[in-house]
């Protein structure tokens, strides 16, 4: 039997199209108005010419690009090493904090104190304490390298955040899952490994990636210890020319570096939300 849409359907679809055309028009007008206002306010500012000259100068951008880029290579290595250690330590701390074993009581206590302290301490302070305090101890076998100490500071700070994210994931797994696993005869640690953690990590992947994005940009802070990363390289360029464009170049490179990860995080979050809607969990 052939289907011909009813007049009702045709009218509904027409109405829907009208609504959608209207929304598009509103979005367009709103974008143009807000965009124009921004442009007028910024370019009309009394100091605009000067700011453009000192922050967005093509000549200095080109000139500083190679050194800033080679500085970024250091950031890239620092962030990768830090991310690996942060994930490992974060996982271990989360496991310690969620365990109930009496043997692990002191570890649990330490882990709690650790996360409390390092989530509260500004990263800049940790950098100073580790980066300047450790060399100050004058222990001969300990490194004085700004890069290594900077990386250690990043790891110390971010492990605390990541541990809390993973812990939240572990606690968000339905307790019935643990019960079902134990009912099969799986031990506490087998349950953790085969049943709880895989589900917990899946749940917290978006916030976890978000913390890694944050870690990536904060890798630029090791420049305060004198490590020649992208920001420090930009600073050296600026000191030579009194032009701030190199900082903008460094900023643009950092953004370019984090965009893939942020896009991926958004995509993953949307995908998980869709799956949840389909399973009727909402």
């Amino acid at each position: 039997m052939s289907y011909s849409p009813s007049a009702m359907r045709i009218a509904r679809e027409e109405a829907r199209r009208r609504v959608s055309r209207r929304s598009t028009l509103i979005a367009l007008i709103s974008t143009v108005v807000i965009g124009s206002v921004l442009v007028i306010v910024v370019t009309g500012a009394p100091g605009f010419a000067l700011v453009r000259q000192s922050f967005f100068n093509w000549h200095y951008a080109k000139k500083s690009f190679p050194t800033v880029l080679s500085g970024l290579w250091l950031n890239l290595r620092v962030m990768i090493v830090a991310e690996i250690f942060v994930l490992i330590f974060g996982l271990l701390i989360a496991l310690a904090r969620t365990s109930h074993s009496p043997i692990l009581y002191p570890v649990r206590l330490l882990a709690t104190i650790y996360t409390d302290i390092f989530r509260g301490l500004p990263l800049l302070l940790v950098l100073f304490l580790v980066g300047l305090g450790v060399p100050g101890l004058q222990i001969s076998w300990l490194t004085n390298s700004a890069v290594i100490l900077g990386t250690v500071s990043l790891i110390l700070t971010y492990s605390a955040y990541v541990a809390e994210v993973i812990r939240a994931g572990i606690e968000a797994v339905n307790p019935a899952q643990r019960m079902a696993a134990r009912a099969l005869g799986l031990t506490q640690s087998q349950t953790q490994r085969h049943v709880i953690l895989p589900q917990a990590l899946r749940k917290v992947t978006p916030p976890l990636l978000n913390d890694l994005v944050s870690l990536q940009k904060d890798s630029g802070l090791i420049s305060v210890l004198g490590a020649i990363d992208a920001i420090r390289a930009a600073g050296i360029n600026t000191a030579e020319s009194f032009n701030f464009t190199p900082y903008v170049v460094a900023g643009a490179l950092f953004v370019a570096l984090t965009i893939p990860l942020t896009r991926f995080t958004d995509w993953l979050t949307r995908k998980q939300d869709r799956a949840r809607v389909q399973q009727g969990q909402w």
């Binding site: 899952q177 079902a180 696993a181 009912a183 005869g185 799986l186 031990t187 049943v195 589900q199 899946r202």
Partner: protein, 250 residues
């Protein structure tokens, strides 16, 4: 004990704070025997089943599994549970594992079965119960009835000494209940020793060797399915069955 009981519960008592949820429970389960627990929600059926596989601690009394006291302090609970199969109302399949992986998890890590052997066993079971094409699907994609059947296979693949079924059809559509009950019927035919909590009286009648009526944490009445379900003696059991009849569930 004249005949060796697989399971023997003596004077079990359990409370949650001030709430006494089980008292004076004594039940035994012989090999191949099927006992069905009936009673209103909150009468203690689930707590009793969970006490047996040591998911709930008990206040007093003893539980023997093949004459070994498993309620003693210091008993290896994991080892006890590895010999008892449990199936829950909410299926509780592991959502991140496929059907096949769900079924072999206990067999491999608790019973140390080789991967190939465990997979073969699981596939045989799935084949026999018409779930073969779901072996590599994730639980989300299965109907409730299929999920519950997988949960039962997960519990029986290691040949437990007792199978505990806790209202396994209560979360299912009437249409899906039948396939789960058929599977349990098949297990009975194979001689599985079972303790079943259920609200399906027709099923209780078919499968039970004995029916126990729980009321406010006590076993009020015991009997063969026909005598207990048709001629209940205690007023509590009469009231319970009367309410079921009125709701059209008997």
């Amino acid at each position: 004990m004249t005949m060796a009981n697989i399971l023997e519960i003596k004077n079990l008592r359990k409370s949650y704070g001030q709430d006494l949820v089980l008292q004076d429970i004594s039940v035994s389960l012989a090999e191949h025997e099927v006992k069905v627990l009936i009673g209103a929600s909150g009468s203690g059926k689930s707590t009793l089943l969970r006490a047996i596989n040591l998911l709930e601690g008990i206040d007093d009394g003893q539980i023997f599994l093949e004459e070994k006291d498993i309620s003693e302090v210091g008993v290896n609970a994991d080892q006890v549970r590895s010999q008892i199969g449990s199936v829950f109302q909410a299926f509780n399949l592991f959502p991140h594992l496929t059907v096949l992986e769900n079924i072999v998890l206990g067999a491999r890590y608790v019973h140390g079965m080789e991967k190939a052997e465990a997979h073969q066993k699981a596939l045989d079971l799935l084949e026999r119960f018409g779930l073969a094409e779901k072996a590599h699907a994730y639980p989300d994609l299965l109907s409730g009835g299929q999920q519950q059947r997988v949960a039962i296979l997960r519990a029986v693949i290691t040949k437990p000494k007792v199978l505990l079924l806790d209202e396994v059809t209560s979360a299912l559509d009437p249409i899906l209940i039948g396939e789960v009950l058929a599977l349990i019927g098949e297990l009975k035919a194979q001689g599985m020793t079972m303790m079943i909590a259920t609200h399906e009286m027709g099923f209780a009648k078919r499968v039970a060797d004995q029916v126990l009526f729980l009321h406010q944490g006590q076993i009020k009445e015991t009997g063969s399915p026909s005598e207990l379900l048709e001629n209940p003696r205690t007023p509590e059991c009469q009231a319970f069955l009367g309410a079921l009849r009125e709701a059209g569930r008997l």
